[in-house]
């Protein structure tokens, strides 16, 4: 469709004219401006909703909201075209078969072997070995070999040595969806562990001997402690309501030596609505400070984030400080349980704070234990009530921790944002389907590529320059402040206003430091070469035979010094770039020249498929949010920048 206008959300005056293309996998908008031909790519799987708005004089507006929080507003001149686009997108955005998803057509030009290597990057058996398992207390169980006991669990499950197949199967029958207690994390320093399961089918009075034995076995696997915590991550009221349906929670009287604890994390429906409300706030056009803060509070989002964090902190403390094992569950044990177990692991073990370790963590607590990616992130058309930002919340928890412990993580914010993007993108096979069983049936590993290999290949872009493996913050357990430090939890504009570049800091400390470190590395290398040359030269001066070696050396030096210069000049080059920007007429009121955004270039290079999606322009502050018109001022006298401009243009 031609002559489509892409509106800038912050300012109606800045609209780009271009052509809209629909392909099998993407919506693509290409600007008409000949020298740039700026492109905006949106994956169909990223589309969360499409809204056709009332036709205006200029055309028919189409609003596309994306799962990665991009909002695209198009105006299509012809009503009929608009309707066609609308209908097609609705269909394309809601595929019904896995085969329609992008990952089955996505081809990064890797051969078969590279693909297989990619899938091998994260190996969970290796991970359990790293934890020190199997050992005297824990072993791998093949009870779920053919998904015979629990179809949402992996085939390989780690359980206490004293838990026989009989106990496991018995216990599984007493647990929702047969998700019996299994090992998530083991702390080899003190034998304390984190296990996970679903809720017991206790109703008001039912008990199950095998389940009680199972919990007993978990306790025995930690000889240093005479009890275990059972953490129910639901609000007490919800758990009690479940009893009426024959489910519920463990009765302390029936289980010997457990301490039972509720931690009120709300369910997926509450979280979905909360995110919805927060996004509405993010979408407000030039909100006042009050609008924004009220909206943020009203959404309850940060409260929920804090609840998840508090649960994770509680468990990490129990394991690290008290040396007590913990069994975590919620209802089905695949949402809140995954969040809480992974946050706790992240706090406990520095390995999970490395790039590789984080991949392992996601693979362990989310992918293998049957977090329902397909349902939660709406990859295939399904029940909208199943959709919920469970993993988004976990990713945000990591970001909140990164803000509090800036040196503790090997990866940076961009790494998290890109993982979030790919939960929805369906570009890689990792997060497809609802369980390991489904993925095996679809032969995901033979037919698609692994995200982890892709991220690993580009790892230089995801490094946190402040991370040093021998730094104090990278050692041992992280101990975040508990309540009352509410103010520690902050709105993450880098995620939720990700595409409003104008809202973010114009200079990125991370990128700056990354450039410095890269330069440092080059300097180190050059230093070495120079040192060698010096030694050579001295030697050659001693000997009389000098001419030849010198010439060689000189050519070497030339190559090196240019590469070095270009690096040393990064900042200057950068501003030169800006200076060469076409200067604009003042009436445009644009503020391009100051836009010192290192991030963009880096984003572009780091992940081409991602940056293609993002609107690359801007980073430029818009005036409409700077001088909010009307804000308490009489319209006749003042003010919105627009009216001033109008006067000026008239003169």
């Amino acid at each position: 469709v031609e002559n489509v206008r892409l509106l800038d959300r912050l300012s109606s005056r800045k609209a780009a004219l271009g052509t809209l293309y629909l392909t099998a996998t993407h919506v693509i908008f290409v600007e008409n401006v000949s020298e740039t031909r700026k492109e905006t790519w949106v994956l169909h799987s990223q589309i969360s909703s499409i809204e056709k708005q009332a036709t205006t004089a200029t055309g028919c507006p189409l609003l596309i909201r994306c799962k990665n929080f991009q909002v695209i507003q198009l105006v299509i001149p012809q009503e009929r075209d608009c309707h066609d686009v609308y209908i097609s997108l609705i269909r394309l955005a809601r595929p019904v078969k896995y085969e329609e998803l992008y990952c089955f057509s996505f081809n990064p030009k890797l051969d078969k072997e590279e693909r297989e290597q990619g899938w091998k990057l994260v190996d969970l058996n290796e991970e359990y070995n790293r934890m020190g398992i199997p050992n005297n207390y824990w072993q791998i169980s093949d009870v779920n070999r053919d998904y015979g006991v629990c179809d949402s669990y992996p085939t390989e499950v780690y359980v206490p040595k004293s838990a026989t197949a009989h106990i496991i199967v018995g216990s599984s029958k007493f647990r929702s969806r047969r998700r019996f207690p299994a090992l998530s994390y083991y702390c080899k320093d003190n034998n304390a562990s984190i296990c996970r399961s679903s809720q017991p089918l206790s109703g008001f009075s039912a008990r199950c001997l095998e389940d009680e034995q199972m919990l007993q076995a978990i306790r025995k696997a930690n000889p240093g402690s005479d009890f275990i915590y059972v953490v129910d991550t639901r609000p007490k009221l919800n758990a009690m309501a479940n009893r009426a349906a024959g489910k519920g929670y463990e009765n302390e009287d029936n289980y010997s030596n457990i301490k039972f604890q509720f931690i009120g994390i709300e369910n997926i429906h509450v979280m979905r609505n909360s995110l919805q409300k927060m996004l509405e706030v993010c979408e407000l056009k030039s909100p006042s400070m009050s609008d924004f803060l009220w909206g943020l509070e009203n959404s309850g989002w940060l409260k929920h984030i804090k609840a998840i964090m508090d649960a994770g902190i509680f468990i990490a403390k129990a394991v690290a400080e008290e040396g007590v094992s913990v069994l975590v569950h919620c209802s089905d044990g695949w949402d809140r349980t995954a969040q809480v177990c992974s946050v706790a692991s992240l706090l406990l073990d520095p390995y999970y704070r490395t790039m590789k370790g984080f991949m392992v963590l996601v693979e362990k607590d989310w992918v293998s234990f049957g977090h329902k990616f397909n349902h939660r992130y709406g990859n295939l058309d399904g029940d909208p009530k199943e959709i919920s930002p469970v993993m988004d919340q976990f990713i945000e928890c990591v970001w909140q921790l990164m803000e509090q412990f800036p040196c503790a993580f090997e990866f940076n914010e961009r790494f998290l944002i890109h993982i979030q993007h790919h939960i929805y993108s369906c570009q890689f096979g990792n997060f497809l389907c609802n369980s390991q069983k489904e993925r095996r049936e679809l032969k995901i590993q033979e037919r698609t590529y692994s995200l982890w290999a892709h991220l690993w290949k580009n790892r230089a872009n995801y490094l946190n320059p402040l991370y040093r493996s021998d730094h104090g913050q990278t050692q041992g357990t992280l101990r975040p402040q508990m309540a009352p430090c509410n103010f520690l939890y902050k709105f993450w504009s880098g995620m939720y206003n990700r595409f409003e570049k104008g809202l973010h800091p114009r200079q990125s400390v991370t990128d700056y430091l990354m450039a410095v470190k890269e330069e440092t590395q080059q300097l180190e290398e050059e230093l070495e070469v120079l040192g060698e040359r010096l030694a050579n030269l001295q030697k050659s001066q001693l000997n009389d035979d000098k001419v030849r070696s010198k010439q060689q050396d000189r050519s070497k030096q030339l190559g090196l010094s240019t590469s070095d210069n270009s690096l040393a000049n990064t900042p200057q080059e950068y501003s030169n770039d800006l200076k060469s920007f076409p200067s604009r007429s003042p009436s445009q009121g644009d503020e391009e020249d100051s836009a010192l955004i290192l991030t963009q270039d880096n984003l572009k290079s780091s992940d081409p498929d991602l940056s293609a999606n993002s609107d690359q322009e801007s980073g430029v502050e818009d005036l409409s949010c700077r001088s909010p018109s009307g804000g308490g001022c009489l319209p006749s006298e003042d003010s919105g920048k627009d009216s001033d401009e109008a006067v000026f243009l008239a003169v």
Binding site: P484, F487, Q507, L513, L534, D644
Partner: protein, 550 residues
């Protein structure tokens, strides 16, 4: 008066000091004329706390049996608690602190007694003289002149002795304009934008009153700043409503009819008591110990602090935009021209002028646009967030300015030569200091107090390399561009370094900062090494060549 009269109990033993995030410490408390000194008695590493009495905002006392507790709330927002055994000692100490922290006379303040322990390299009182500034200006334009009309502070008590005005306006005209402006603050030059020759002026409101008085000289003065055929903007920091109400009290605003070449824009930046209340509420919220996330956000919202930040920044961006983008001259004023006006003019300069983003340039900005421009520091900073008294002159006007600078610094972390600590240091010294810089309400008072002769300047201390190194931003890369901050709510944040400074653990953030410094330091070292080696090699090679030629 002798301080000794106020100190009934100069020393108490077995006092326990409580601070957030530190273990309680036992030690000895001593009171001197200007300090409260606490010293732990541990031999290994004796810990000492020195607190200026003038830093104390309020104190509370409590008794449990004979154990007294004094809670001291400071102007820098820190709260400490002292447990003092003995009811009488405790009462004595509390009343002494109360008396010593609320001394009436400026000349009794610590700066008059302070003797520096460092060598004075440069007298800060002479570091930023108007003549030097003017020299810089006259190198680029000859349209302005220095006027000594206010030599004895006879025309405007809150202006410095010399001001910069348009060359074409003589002192006689200035005198008439002064009569027409609130507090005689006639329009003077605040900033000259070299890029396009546009200027920013500041003044107080015109005294038009209800019957629309006018003053030809005033009109002539401000028109003198316009290029032929060009227009200018008047940014009134009050809402139109407030400006209209001001007419009833003799004030007012420039009527279009009399200033046809000027377009007036009203912004609404709040005044004293509203700002003070906002600060009190904000600090209350930050100190709130409740566990509820929602309460925190709504309290933050209810304080309106960030709303004020947004308003001030918006007005400053607008002024900067008029100058740089519209190519127009600007006049800024509110009512008195000593508060919101200065916030706007100084922030606009930070945005426009790279020099103001250097340490030296920022100091010069504070001197020009705040101290010499007559911001009444003594009145505004007499009390901070814990004040109980409802005096109406206190207001965190300068703190709001510093907060706005921090917001811009956060958005452009590589464009400032100074770091957050520098801003925090200025905040502290504006409220309580051993230096005389922020004493008095204007140059007039400062000269009467003979501050330059009798006290030490803050700048004498700061500008020594030992101190400067603490305030330097390791990421700084000179950026000659205009920097446009975002004022969207998502882009503005609570200044944790000030408001949560005492109630959050900062260890990990400090470590990160240190790491950053090390990364850059190491890089610089390597660069130096490489350069040295290159030089050495080049020399050896030329030596070689010379030998060859021989």
């Amino acid at each position: 008066m002798e301080f000794a009269e106020l100190i009934k109990t100069p020393r108490a033993d077995n006092v326990v000091l409580h601070r957030p995030f530190y273990l309680a410490v036992e030690g000895t408390l001593c009171l001197t004329g200007h300090h409260l000194i606490f010293s732990s008695r541990r031999q290994d590493n004796a810990e000492e706390l020195w607190l200026l009495h003038s830093n104390i905002d309020s104190i509370e006392k409590r008794f449990v049996g004979s154990l007294g507790t004094i809670i001291i709330k400071c102007k820098d927002l820190r709260i400490i608690q002292l447990d003092i055994p003995g009811m009488e000692e405790c009462l004595n100490i509390a009343s002494s602190i109360e008396a010593l922290s609320t001394l009436d006379s400026v000349t009794l303040m610590y700066p008059f007694f302070y003797r520096p322990m460092f060598e004075i390299v440069e007298d800060g009182w002479r570091s930023f003289l108007p003549d030097q500034e003017f020299e810089l200006l006259s190198s680029v334009t000859d349209e302005w002149r220095l006027s000594c009309i206010n030599k004895e502070f006879s025309v405007c008590p809150s202006y410095p002795p010399v001001v910069v005005v348009p060359k074409s306006i003589d002192d006689e005209a200035l005198r008439k304009v002064a009569m027409f402006r609130h507090g005689s603050r006639f329009p003077v030059l605040s900033y000259y934008h070299k890029k396009n020759g546009m200027v920013m002026m500041r003044s107080s409101q015109p005294l038009t009153g209800t019957n629309g008085r006018r003053c030809k000289e005033d009109e002539k003065l401000i028109n003198a700043t316009l290029r032929p055929g060009k227009r200018g903007y008047i940014i009134d920091t009050r809402s139109l409503n407030v400006a209209q109400q001001a007419r009833a009290k003799g004030g007012g605003f420039e009527q279009e009819a009399h200033y046809p070449q000027w377009r007036r824009i009203h912004k609404c930046i709040e005044r004293f008591n509203i700002l003070q209340e906002s600060l009190i509420k904000l600090v209350e919220a930050c100190n709130d110990q409740s566990h509820n996330m929602d309460r925190w956000l709504s309290k933050l919202e209810a304080s309106n602090w960030l709303t004020h930040i947004k308003e001030i920044l918006t007005a400053a961006c607008l002024a900067a935009q008029c100058i740089d983008r519209e190519g127009a001259s600007v006049l800024v004023h509110g009512t008195e021209g000593t508060d919101s006006t200065l916030q706007v003019t100084s922030l606009a300069q930070i945005i426009l002028d790279p020099r103001c983003r250097t340490i030296r340039g920022f100091e010069s900005l504070v001197v020009r646009e705040w101290l010499q421009a007559g911001h009444p520091f003594q009145q505004r900073c007499a009390q901070s967030a814990y004040s109980n008294s409802k005096q109406k002159w206190e207001a965190p006007v300068f703190l709001l300015f510093l907060d706005c600078v921090w917001q811009i610094l956060r958005q452009f972390p590589c464009s400032f030569e100074f770091n957050e600590q520098f801003l925090i240091m200025l905040f502290e010294h504006a409220y309580a200091s051993q230096f005389g810089t922020f004493l008095g309400n204007n140059e007039n008072e400062r000269s009467k107090l003979k501050l330059p002769q009798k006290t030490m300047s803050l700048w004498s201390w700061v500008n020594r390399s030992e101190e400067l190194s603490k305030f330097q931003n390791p990421l700084f890369e000179a950026n000659s561009l205009v920097i446009w901050p975002s004022v969207a709510p998502q882009s503005l944040q609570l200044w944790e370094g000030v408001f949560l400074r005492w109630n959050r653990p900062s260890k990990f953030l400090d470590e990160a900062h240190e790491e950053m410094i090390n990364i850059i330091k190491y890089n610089k070292e390597l660069q130096a090494k490489v350069n040295a080696l290159r030089r050495q090699l080049a020399e050896m090679e030329t030596d070689d060549r010379m030998q060859e030629n021989l």
